[in-house]
Symmetry: C2
């Protein structure tokens, strides 16, 4: 049998996800992954064809679910506003809240995945290519919504605003502990409630300020 939940296949993906997240693709060997997965090395090549394919499989395992629930969140917001456009805050929240909920429900499952995405997003090798491949349709959909919320905004300002947002988002969800050190533990990377309270306000403020500037 093949496509039912094979526990070993999942165990390999779990182990790979965690290890790839902490050091990137090259910092981790297949042997380390399979040791953590408690399975023979060659099983990695049986279930996946190569190390690269394993990496790809780690990415693909969660990306569809992620995109689906974010899209649903956006559609829910749009449905609440039949005629008028949603606010920028509401749209940003539809983009971020699903991430927070995934972490709240199943932190162990998603934490490493978000850390991995942060690294990919900031990698000159992969950032342009992989992020585009996996997230572009969804992101374009969100930018459409933002365009409606900010009808006077210039196109370039919209894209740059999203770009700044993207950097803030991926770093924040990577939970690197940086803000813990900087703030002397006054703030904590893992404090999702704080993020949920602050990120939409900050980002929406940024969008508005930049778009307002563009109309001058």
């Amino acid at each position: 049998m093949n496509n039912k939940n094979h526990p070993t296949r999942e165990r390999i993906l779990d182990a790979a996800e965690e290890l790839f997240a902490s050091g990137g693709f090259s910092a981790v060997s297949v042997r380390q992954i399979m040791k953590k997965a408690e399975a023979d090395v060659s099983l990695a090549y049986y279930h996946f064809k190569s190390k690269r394919d394993l990496f790809e499989a780690v990415m693909l395992r969660r990306v569809e679910h992620l995109n689906a629930i974010r899209l649903r969140a956006l559609e829910a917001v749009e449905k609440r506003h039949k005629d008028d456009a949603p606010t920028v805050e509401e749209i940003i929240e539809a983009f971020t809240r699903p991430l927070l909920e995934l972490l709240a429900e199943k932190h162990d499952e998603w934490h490493y995945y978000f850390a991995l995405i942060a690294q990919i997003n900031n990698s000159p090798d992969l950032g342009g290519k992989l992020m585009t491949r996996y997230f572009d349709p969804l992101v374009s959909r969100f930018i459409d919504a933002l365009r409606k919320a900010l009808p006077e905004c210039r196109e370039e300002d919209l894209y740059w605003s999203y770009h700044f947002f993207s950097g803030a988002l991926t770093l924040t969800f990577a939970e690197t502990g940086r803000i813990d050190n900087l703030s002397g533990s006054r703030c904590r990377s893992s404090d999702m409630a704080s993020i949920n309270e602050r990120m939409p306000a900050f980002i929406a403020g940024g969008f508005r300020a930049l778009c307002a500037r563009g109309q001058r």
Copy 2:
């Protein structure tokens, strides 16, 4: 003789910087670095003790200069405002403008360095530790200035705002080409004039919106 400009030592650092920037520490071998530097492999271990120390040297080579000119930019802004506090925009610009100027003057020297920092900032392994070690004093200095510009702002909001800023900043200066793809080449990662126009406005808008929210 030792501490004069040894061209080979610099060539090794240049090669290492470029290669580390594109794939991180582990994706690059010492042999690859030394091939690019056109020098024997063992010279890497003569000039630096190990691969890790070479990596550290790459980081250290530019960090002091970087921190110095940013500090100078901040002090210049503060000197312009004897009694009143500088605006948030001015402070953010003092933080970002030096980066833009370095890229404008010597793009080849600094481009890879910024890409490397983006990866480190987003690495769970190194992000908390290395960024804190290298940049904390300067960052705290900037946060002090921001506190004066936003005297009613809560401490937590200040730190979280800076955190969002940090993510946007490092991703933007990494020039990953992501925004190029997303915008259909309407915007370009390498377009420093666009960044200079937009980043301070966006970030300052974020700071203000978040601080205003905190006072409610």
